[in-house]
């Protein structure tokens, strides 16, 4: 299944936050959205899992506009891992992963053997098979993310959409979560803050800046010192990772880029 976002615009209270975004994720590809804070990454993702209705444009999954499907039909092909990661209610791991079956259940229908097998399988796949009865609030950040990924997998989706899945995770848990993501071999749209993580896990990157896509391509094509200076406003060298061969960005943490800082480009039209 592929995703095609065409001429997408999003507005909050009349103010455009995303305009004219066009991007494609091919079948089985991991497409990364990167960009500074407020560049519109989350807004784009929200239109895909139907939380935010586009002001204009279309979101196509295998040629079908998700906004012309019913919410339930859409939830059967797109599963989301939004940034909501806590609950004031005492939920168990099993409660949360079973939520993934919601799009498949009629009102009043109980859980059948299929649901239980799917939930158990999803928990197994993220290595949380033994945690079913545990309280979600007692889990570590990394464990929570794996449980939420299991919920998305229990939805049996064609497409996974993840909003900053590695936020607040330590390095090992980031590595584990991204490795899990690659193992799934599903069409995936993921926003990431960590450019080095994005460079090694994504097949293609789309750079968002002020609500527009300013670059698309493989990580090697996209992540250049010039782009990092212009979009992120930082000085950086792009090296080759000695272990993996992926692009490795070495930031200059002492001073921002001299040219095209975000403040000066903000004045430009």
């Amino acid at each position: 299944m592929n995703i095609a976002i065409e001429e997408l615009s999003v507005a909050y209270a009349g103010r455009a936050v995303v305009s004219g975004v066009h991007l494609i994720a091919a079948d089985g590809e991991i497409a990364g959205l990167v960009g500074p804070n407020g560049s519109g990454k989350s807004s784009v993702l929200r239109t895909v899992y139907r939380h935010l209705r586009p002001a204009a444009g279309r979101v196509l999954v295998d040629g079908r506009d998700v906004w012309e499907l019913t919410p339930v039909q859409a939830a059967r092909c797109v599963a989301a891992l939004p940034q909501e990661r806590t609950s004031d209610f005492e939920l168990t791991v099993g409660d949360i992963v079973m939520m993934g079956r919601t799009p498949y259940k009629r009102p009043f229908a109980g859980e059948d053997a299929t649901d239980r097998a799917v939930v158990a399988g999803a928990l197994e796949r993220v290595g949380m098979g033994a945690a079913r009865g545990r309280s979600f609030s007692t889990l570590s950040g990394g464990e929570r993310q794996r449980v939420l990924l299991a919920r998305a997998l229990a939805q049996d989706p064609d497409v996974l959409v993840l909003d900053e899945p590695t936020n607040h995770l330590d390095v090992l848990h980031q590595v584990e979560l991204l490795a899990l993501l690659r193992e799934q071999r599903r069409t995936t749209l993921v926003s990431l803050h960590d450019l080095n993580a994005a460079a090694s896990v994504c097949d293609r990157l789309h750079v968002l800046h002020r609500g527009r896509v300013v670059a698309s391509g493989t990580p090697r094509e996209v992540l250049t010192p010039e782009l990092l200076a212009e979009v992120f406003g930082v000085r950086a060298a792009v090296l080759e990772h000695p272990l993996t061969g992926d692009p490795l960005i070495a930031f200059d943490h002492r001073s921002p880029a001299a040219v095209a800082s975000p403040v000066t480009t903000a004045v430009a039209p």
Binding site: E90, L91, D95, M99, L172
Partner: protein, 368 residues
Amino acid sequence: MPIVEADAQTTPARTGPDHTPGRAPGVRHVRAGVLAAVLGVALLAALTFAVAWGSTDVPPREVWSVVLRRLSGEAPRPGTSDLIVWQLRLPRALLAAVVGAGLGLVGTAVQALVRNPLADPYLLGISSGASLGAVGALVLGLGTGGALGLGTSGAAFVGALATFALVWLIARRGGGFSPLRLVLAGVGLGQFLTGFTSYLVLQAGDEQQTQGVLFWLMGSLGGAGWETLAVPAAAVPVALLLLMARARALNTMMMGDETAAGLGVSPARLRRELFVVTSVLTGVLVAVSGAIAFVGLMVPHACRLLVGADHRRLLPVSALFGAVLLVVVDIVCRTALDTQELPVGVVTSLIGAPALLYLLDRRLGRNA
């Protein structure tokens, strides 16, 4: 005991229990079916004693013989037993059960609606509106004296719906329908209406009127009769059905609107539906029993500790638990003092607060 994580480089697979730290055991819940059966038996027992005990005790066996005789359509045996059991105490006991069940449901729904396990029906201002309606009717003489006549109930229901409409309009302004806007609109309007009610209470002419008003504000089942029972007895099962049909959708809302949307639920639409169901049901309940505090907050919370947060189990268990609780409370209210009846709300607060603290303490102790 230190937990050794699997070597991430050689075995990125996260299989086997060694990857799951073994500190906290699973949350232990009671099986919902077992609990429901226990509560069902408890409800029958509580109803029996509610009818048996009072200023004149009727033996439980006699209670059932009167009830079965009536139910089988035979002519009632003449005597005081039939009068006490069938005309006076049974409608009241049943009303306590229905109102308790309704409050349990409303509390569960409102907590999901505003996504806060410590919310209660009063948060949306609807009971305040109902109280103002009822008290206004009493003071202006539309109700008949201190008795909770049809005039008062009607005014309470109108007050509830009017408040509901106002809260709705305020919360909708700006297009959003967020939990925070709902709570702010509800609390704000509720306080405003409560101020009016207090003013009316001060203005109440004679002592009997004031007495009636206070009884209303603290909740009472004293107005029960077969005719008061009909509307709530129909409304509570309908509300249970409507909410059960949305139980899975309610579950998805516990983590947030984006999660719900990603799972094929429209949170705005669900919230509108919940708001209508809870408002109408609250209006019906307050109209027949006044503002009974704490049940709507306490019951779902306690039930969540017992059976977990899944609404497919939580809703029916909360209804049953609320029913048992209010029947028992009303027994206490009628029999604790020789000289007068206690308002239901006084006893629900006295029982509810310590019970909640105990349950919270137990829960925290287990998870520590």
